[in-house]
């Protein structure tokens, strides 16, 4: 009679339940890894959606089509047809013009005439009632920006004359924290009138420089569907390609915020990866230890007639339960972390994001958890499948083989690559990251091999006949003789502390860069400075105690050719779709300089000699990448009717948060020096009264120059980014604590054997001093080698990540000292705490 199959659940319970403590550690490691991945992915999705909503609120639309010529009547129907779905739309007209209050000198404003319904998202004024005043019956109303109100002392009820019309000030517009910098509406302060009142001003005449715009909303603000939005945007771009109209989307808005968000998101991703790898270290060490315990049991069971199929099913059941429970705990931990972050940001950020578990993040967490379970299962079964039951006879003992560990590593790297690719990281970056990790692992293995050779040499030369010398020799010998365990320790310590250290280095550099308003960054900006006014500006700035004064020439130009091929043709041939096509169509502000300004760093090629007139240019690195241009390529610009052909000879990295006047394109002075130009400026004035006095004096001499006082905005941004910096610091600390906890548990490996050894040596007559010295020698040896792994790893990871963030490594000295000391101190702390725990038991 055939016996019934071995009951899987019962066998699994008998085999694994006694190891529930160790398995719980594995589940916790999985939970930490999955939790970090989920928390970060979810947070990025939540904040990303918030940023999206915020960006289009600032622009008032999802997409704006504008032109310096009146828009043709058929444009809107064509665009509606191209979108394939009815879109809300509204028209505006804007121009730079002069406004005057009573007998005060007139001043430059950006006049925006709008139809009812504008903006399509958000409000013009802080409240809807003020918005409604713009279209109320009565004398023509006008809404003015806070800059106009404060700088020109304009109050509600005052009369402001623009062209032939006297407008009554109905209220103030809502402030735009960084709108002035992003250039959404030009640099001059904004005033808004009803479109119906525009004709009465008499400003729109033949030859007037007037921008006509048509704004569209793609959908309901609370139901953003990225794929649909992107497809609709692309359709609209295609519909107007080559018509000489400018198309601007919410994606282009708030470049500064986007840059901050991208850096923070990259840091979040790094935190997630580091925690994942720390969790993986815990999982690997826990698994190795667990499997080594299981091998004997499984071999015994094989002798008892439990077949490989039954063993496989029991392990599959175990790892499925572990993966799912670890994943579920991880998601809950992640949600808790997200709730804490959102709560910390509440009221401090303009972004609105409410706690939710986003579907992509949940799917990713599930995939990671099941992937980990599958890898654990594969490796376990591979080893157990090859287990020879007869190895038990004669006292044989089975151990995990090196190729199993290699398989574990290979599967881990493959999983990591899949995760990065799923996160839309480019294949090149993914390959660079996983390749870098592989190189780091191989390098670590080589370094450990070298360390063993050196230790072996050292051990042979450790002389002395005292008991202390014998204890030290024995400590070093233990490291050498327990090679497998020492290697596990070293890799866990070196990788764990190195990666946590890298996180610290990145966090401190990022937090430093986020301190926008701190230090000596400019807070006053000057627009529309004519060449012959520069000397006056400089003189007045000096007179009012300004520092960091920078005035940069500004030359308007259009990109017409790349390497001899016309940009219009390139766009029409559909070689430059999407962002590249948009970059080819836009108008550029070029500048010229002898050298690099503040916040700029040369990253490729060479800069020209001072005073040069060579036909060359320098591009901002990321702009060059987006435009698809490399060193040696030729660009032709149309500088107000005159073509100029320039070769790209250098690439610069620009810190846009430096708040200095920065440009995508810079040429030598000799190339653009004679072109028609204006200048923009930035300077720092500490005292608000000095700012007001500087504005008054400058206005008295040159009324055309617009002065933007960004001190209040910078102060607000500084407070916000300070909070963000502290949040990043907290995140890095939490990650470090998690890492230390996992390492602490990892270092517990082999405690039983250590205790047995101590007992044996005590029986052989070793005293407490000798045992301490032996342990000290063992720990110090391992610590020094682990430090030699951790420090280069921390630098090797931090540098490329910071390069991706467009940042430099901040002073790393203290951080590196901590990273170097941690591997020495952690094993000692571990033995102390384990000793205390044992004492309590």
């Amino acid at each position: 009679m055939t016996p019934p199959p071995v009951p899987t659940a019962r066998l699994a319970r008998r085999l694994f339940w006694p190891y529930r403590g160790r398995l719980a550690f594995l589940a916790v490691c999985i939970a930490l890894g999955v939790g970090s991945i989920f928390a970060i992915a979810n947070l990025v999705h939540l904040l990303g959606d918030g940023l999206y909503r915020d960006a289009r609120t600032l622009m008032g639309a999802d997409i704006t089509v504008s032109s310096w010529r009146p828009l043709t009547a058929d444009l809107e129907p064509r665009l509606q047809a191209a979108a394939g779905t009815p879109l809300r739309s509204v028209r505006t007209v804007q121009m730079a013009t002069m406004a005057g209050k009573g007998d005060d000198p007139p001043f430059l404003v950006t006049l925006q005439a709008v139809e009812p319904g504008y903006p399509l998202y958000g409000k013009l004024a802080p409240d809807a009632a003020t918005d409604a005043l713009l279209f109320a019956p009565g004398p023509p109303p006008i809404l003015v920006s806070p800059e106009v109100a404060t700088q020109r002392r304009v109050a509600v009820g005052d009369t402001l004359r623009i062209g032939d019309t006297a407008f009554t000030v109905a209220g103030q517009l809502a402030p735009e924290p960084s709108g002035g910098l992003s250039g959404a509406l030009g640099f001059a302060p904004r005033v808004v009138i009803p479109l119906t009142a525009l004709d009465g001003t008499g400003l729109v005449q033949f030859g007037s420089r007037v921008q006509h715009a048509l704004h569209f909303a793609l959908g309901e603000p609370d139901a953003p569907e990225a794929r649909t939005r992107a497809a609709t945007l692309e359709a609209l771009f295609e519909a107007v390609a080559g018509e000489g109209v400018r198309v601007r989307t919410f994606v282009d808005a708030r470049d500064n915020t986007r840059e901050i968000f991208e850096r923070v998101a990259l840091f979040f991703t790094l935190v997630a990866l580091v925690t994942l790898i720390l969790g993986a270290i815990g999982v690997v060490v826990g698994l190795l230890s667990f499997l080594n315990d299981q091998l004997d049991a499984v071999a015994t069971l094989r002798c008892m007639g439990v077949g490989p199929g039954a063993i496989r099913r029991a392990f599959l059941l175990l790892f499925t339960i572990l993966a799912l429970s670890g994943g579920a705990i991880g998601v809950m931990l992640g949600l808790g972390a997200d709730a804490a972050v959102l709560s910390a940001l509440e009221g401090r950020m303009e972004l609105e994001a409410s706690l939710a578990a986003t579907v992509p993040a949940l799917l990713e967490a599930l995939a990671v958890a099941l992937g980990v379970g599958l890898v654990l299962n594969l490796v376990s079964l591979r080893r157990l499948g090859a287990l020879p039951p007869h190895a038990l006879f004669g006292g044989g003992r089975v151990r995990l083989r090196r190729r199993d560990v290699a398989l574990l590593g290979a599967l881990g790297l493959a999983g990591l690559s899949a995760l990065l690719l799923a996160r839309d990281v480019s294949p090149e970056r993914t390959a660079a990251f996983t390749g870098g990790l592989l190189v780091a692992l191989l390098g670590a293995a080589a370094l450990i091999g070298l360390a063993f050779a050196v230790l072996s040499w050292l051990h042979r030369r450790l002389g002395g006949r005292s008991s202390d010398a014998a204890a030290l020799r024995h400590g070093v010998l233990l490291v050498l003789r327990q090679r497998g365990r020492s290697t596990t320790w070293l890799l866990a310590l070196g990788l764990g502390i190195g990666l946590t250290g890298a996180l610290h280095l990145v966090q401190s550099s990022l937090s430093g860069a986020l301190a926008v308003g701190a230090g000596s960054k400019p807070n006053v900006f000057l627009v529309d400075v004519q060449s012959d006014q520069i000397a006056t500006v400089q003189r007045l700035a000096d007179a009012h105690g300004a520092t960091e004064t920078q005035l940069s020439p500004l030359v308007r130009a259009r990109l017409t050719h790349i390497n001899g091929a016309g940009t219009d043709a390139l766009t029409e041939q559909r070689q430059g779709r999407g962002e590249r096509a948009r970059l080819m169509r836009r108008e550029y502000n070029l500048t010229y300089a002898d050298g690099l300004g503040p916040g700029q760093k040369l990253v490729a090629g060479e800069l020209w000699a001072p005073g040069s007139d060579a036909p060359v240019l320098s591009l901002e690195q990321r702009f060059a990448t987006r435009l698809g241009v490399r060193l040696g390529d030729w660009l032709r610009f149309d500088v107000q009717g005159r073509p100029i052909e320039l070769q790209v000879t250098s690439l610069r990295r620009v810190d846009w948060l430096s708040l200095s006047p920065n440009f995508f394109v810079v040429t030598p002075p000799g190339v653009l020096g004679e072109a028609p130009q204006t200048a923009i400026g930035a300077l720092k004035l500490d005292d608000p009264q000095a700012v007001a006095a500087f504005q008054r004096d400058l206005f008295a001499e040159h009324a055309n120059i617009t002065v933007l006082d960004l001190a209040p905005v910078l102060s607000q941004a500084d407070a916000l980014l300070g909070e963000l910096g502290r949040a990043l610091e907290l995140l890095a600390l939490v990650c470090a604590a998690v890492g230390l906890l996992i390492l602490w548990a990892t270092l517990d490996l082999g405690r039983g054997e250590r205790e047995a050894r101590v007992a044996t040596l005590r029986a052989l007559g070793w005293d407490a001093r000798g045992l301490k010295l032996m342990r000290l020698a063992e720990q110090a040896t391992l610590g020094v080698v682990a430090a030699a792994l951790a420090v280069p790893l921390a630098l090797g990871v931090a540098r490329p990540v910071l390069t991706q963030m467009n940042l430099d490594l901040a002073a790393a000295g203290p951080g590196l000292v901590v990273i170097a000391l941690a591997p020495l101190l952690l094993p000692w702390l571990t033995s102390v705490t384990h000793g205390l725990a044992r004492g309590r038991r």
């Binding site: 016996p3 199959p5 008998r14 015994t300 002798c303 008892m304 077949g307």
Partner: protein
């Protein structure tokens, strides 16, 4: 299980349980084949107790592996009740061991995180016996071996002799046709070893199970019904 004091004698007319015919076993070693068993013939009969002895490296453990279906011969045949087991699949062999074979190891091989009772009951549970019934029978078997007070003790809380008695109970609990014992007293002091051997033989006699015991102890071998000495891979 009862515990009579004397050893068993070989029933003359009993059927063959295990038959080895011209068994050769070679291992690759340093680029050439190392012949451990060299045309070995052996016939083990129902209820027989057989001692296998020999010097270190004579092939005792290899022979035990082949008899238990844990390894396959290079040539020759191993038959269980006339059926060649070397051609069986891994699953078929596992099923055979689960139902027909018991093992006793020199170093006990008890699962360290299971109690004495659980270790013994496991042999029944893998046969589909309900846990409660398995525990009842395991407790009974351990009680007969004098371990009634040690049911909930873990292996590291038991003495060497007690551990081996738990292993004996585990080997016999499912009433196998064959029990293989690999140096069952090798890790025990002489007095304890002698007591454990007495209990092993008593349990075996009571169950009339065929016992194949590998040992290098002549006194232990003398207690078996038959003594096979391995010399250079052949039986003498």
């Amino acid at each position: 299980m009862t515990t009579p004091a004397s050893s068993t004698a070989t029933p003359a007319a009993a059927e063959s349980v295990l038959t080895l015919s011209a068994v050769v076993k070679e291992y690759a070693s340093g680029g050439h084949a190392l012949r451990v068993l060299d045309g070995l013939d052996l016939d083990v009969r129902e209820g027989e107790t057989v001692a296998i002895t020999g010097a270190s490296g004579s092939g005792k453990s290899t022979l035990l592996n082949l008899l238990a279906g844990l390894d396959r011969p290079t040539s020759g045949s191993v038959r269980f009740r006339g059926q060649p087991i070397e051609g069986w699949s891994e699953d078929r062999l596992a099923e055979w061991r689960r139902t027909q074979v018991g093992f006793i190891f020199q170093d006990f091989r008890l699962l360290p995180r299971l109690t004495a009772l659980e270790n013994v009951a496991l042999a029944l549970e893998v046969l589909g016996e309900p846990p409660r019934e398995a525990a009842r029978r395991a407790a009974e078997a351990l009680g007969q071996l004098g371990l009634g007070e040690r049911l909930t003790h873990f292996p590291d809380q038991l003495s060497g002799g007690e551990r081996q008695r738990v292993a004996i109970a585990r080997a016999f609990i499912h009433r196998p046709a064959l029990v293989f014992a690999d140096e069952p007293t090798g890790n025990l002091d002489p007095d304890t070893g002698a007591r454990v051997l007495e209990q092993l033989l008593a349990v075996d006699a009571a169950s009339r199970t065929t016992l194949v015991l590998v040992t290098h102890d002549a006194e232990v071998a003398a207690r078996m019904g038959r003594h096979v000495r391995l010399v250079r891979g052949r039986a003498q």
